[in-house]
Amino acid sequence: MPRKKPEPSKTSEQDTWREDASQLSYEEALQALDVLLGQLQDDSIPLADLQKNHARASIYLDRCDLLLSQVEQSVRQLDPNTMEERMLDTSNNE
């Protein structure tokens, strides 16, 4: 039996969503997720859109999970006179 080929349009659509989500901050991804969850609660959404919304919401969830799994914090130092950024130097005296 011949293998069923994946629908190219659906795959590229999800890829676009993933790419967009990768640029979002935690707060932005959480807000987008909550909007979709609100829509999913709406009984009037057609079943065809249900699957799409579910897939997109999963992408936002994954984005939030990824951000929360970040362990290292970025800490830099600002020169108080020039306001230029540099690596944190803890050897300076007051």
């Binding site: 999913l40 969830l61 939030c64």
Partner: protein, 390 residues
């Protein structure tokens, strides 16, 4: 007592003896609580008078020490001085050499009240102006001394709570006559906060005594904080230490660590939130699919229980009911009961004596036929006024 039994000195010998006595017999270091008056800098040295209301003594902070002092008193300030005696034998003059000088708590609190009153009058201190803190700050500036245990504690707390935030540490002096320096840093930060992409700032200083926090009662520092374009969180000293900067900030935290806890959301709580959302998402999908499946099953059931013959009979019954009703309302029924229907020659129904005239032809329909007649008289009922006859 005679003059021969008393010690005899020249002036120099006397002064030297006094000097030696003081050097050997007086405490090499001591503390004085006093009020400073008439402070003046002469040739780089700070001269002032220390008094306690009953007595006074001259004090001097030599130029080399003056540079190191964190506090230079104004006239009338209460001070705590660590000093030693300086004795000039040439003129037998005495002064307290200042080794360290700090404001007394009374001085600090008096300055706090004065600046607080001034800024309240200006409207700079206004709880109604406090801004909301960002829920998920992306970038924060932390103004504090570098290095310091306060900074180390804050970085550790930030790392634990919300490592997603980027931190920009801005070194500032946090003690002494450094208000102009802090004002300069705050002004530059305010000008460039857009380019630096900041969401809020933290002003922090750990530990120490209330006197050490006096710079945060400075009116100029507090005006700049109050007008800062981003939310300001202060974490200065300990729980009980309140400065004017705390009053103008958008949020006052008890300590530097508490300031980071206030600004940073909890990563653990956020992880729980995401986990709950994930559960909700799969539950919604399952619920909607179950709902759709349930509706489909209902339709299946309806289809299975549908019988064409039953539906047809139901429709026939409805038709027969309508037919019966139509018959019941038919005029023929009245004719069979003996009533008659009258019409004029041109078919108009005669329902009233006003519908017909004398000598007019009238058709009378009975149950089994029609009679044609001519009206001879028309008689109204007693209640009617019209009456006519041939």
């Amino acid at each position: 007592m005679s003059a021969e039994s008393l010690p005899t000195y020249s002036v120099r010998e006397l002064n030297n003896a006094i000097g030696v006595l003081l050097e050997r017999g007086f405490a090499p270091r001591f503390v004085i609580q006093a009020t400073a008056s008439r402070p003046q800098v002469k040739k780089g040295h700070l001269w002032l008078t220390l008094s306690d209301g009953d007595a006074s003594i001259t004090a001097v902070a030599w130029a080399s020490k003056l540079k190191q002092l964190d506090f230079v008193p104004a006239d009338g300030d209460g001070v705590t001085v660590i000093g030693r005696l300086n004795f000039w034998s040439a003129r037998a003059s005495l002064a307290v050499q200042v080794l360290d000088m700090r404001p007394s708590l009374t001085t600090v609190l008096r300055r706090f009240e004065t600046v607080k009153a001034q800024l309240l009058e200006e409207g700079v201190i206004d709880p109604g102006r406090r801004r909301k803190l960002p829920a998920y700050p992306k970038r924060l500036a932390v103004l504090t001394s570098v290095p310091s245990s306060a900074l180390a504690d804050m970085l550790r707390t930030a790392q634990e709570r919300w490592p997603l935030s980027e931190l920009l540490v801005v070194p500032i002096p946090v003690q002494g006559e450094v208000a102009p320096i802090i004002c300069g840093v705050l002004s530059r930060l305010a000008e460039q906060h857009h380019q630096l992409r900041l969401d809020a700032i933290v002003l922090a200083r750990g530990g120490g005594s209330r006197e050490d926090l006096m710079v945060f009662d400075d009116a100029d520092v507090c005006r700049i904080l109050a007008s800062f374009p981003l939310p300001v969180v202060t974490g200065l000293g300990h729980e009980d230490d309140l400065t004017v900067a705390d009053l103008v900030a958008d949020h006052r935290a008890a300590t530097p660590t508490a300031a980071m806890v206030t600004l940073m959301p909890s990563k653990e709580s956020a992880q729980q939130t995401i986990s709950q959302r994930r559960t909700r998402l799969s539950e919604y999908k399952r619920w909607r699919l179950e709902q759709a499946s349930s509706r489909l099953k209902e339709r299946h059931l309806q289809l299975h229980t549908f019988r064409p013959a039953v539906a047809l009979q139901r429709r026939r019954n409805q038709w027969e009911q309508r037919q019966q009703l139509l018959l019941a309302l038919s005029p023929q029924r009245w004719l069979h009961r003996g009533f008659a229907m009258l019409h004029t020659a041109n078919g108009q129904p005669v329902q009233s004596i006003d519908d017909i005239c004398l000598n007019e032809q009238v058709h009378i329909r009975l149950k089994d036929g029609v009679v044609q007649a001519i009206t001879k008289t028309i008689q109204a009922n007693e209640s009617s006024n019209s009456q006519a006859s041939l």
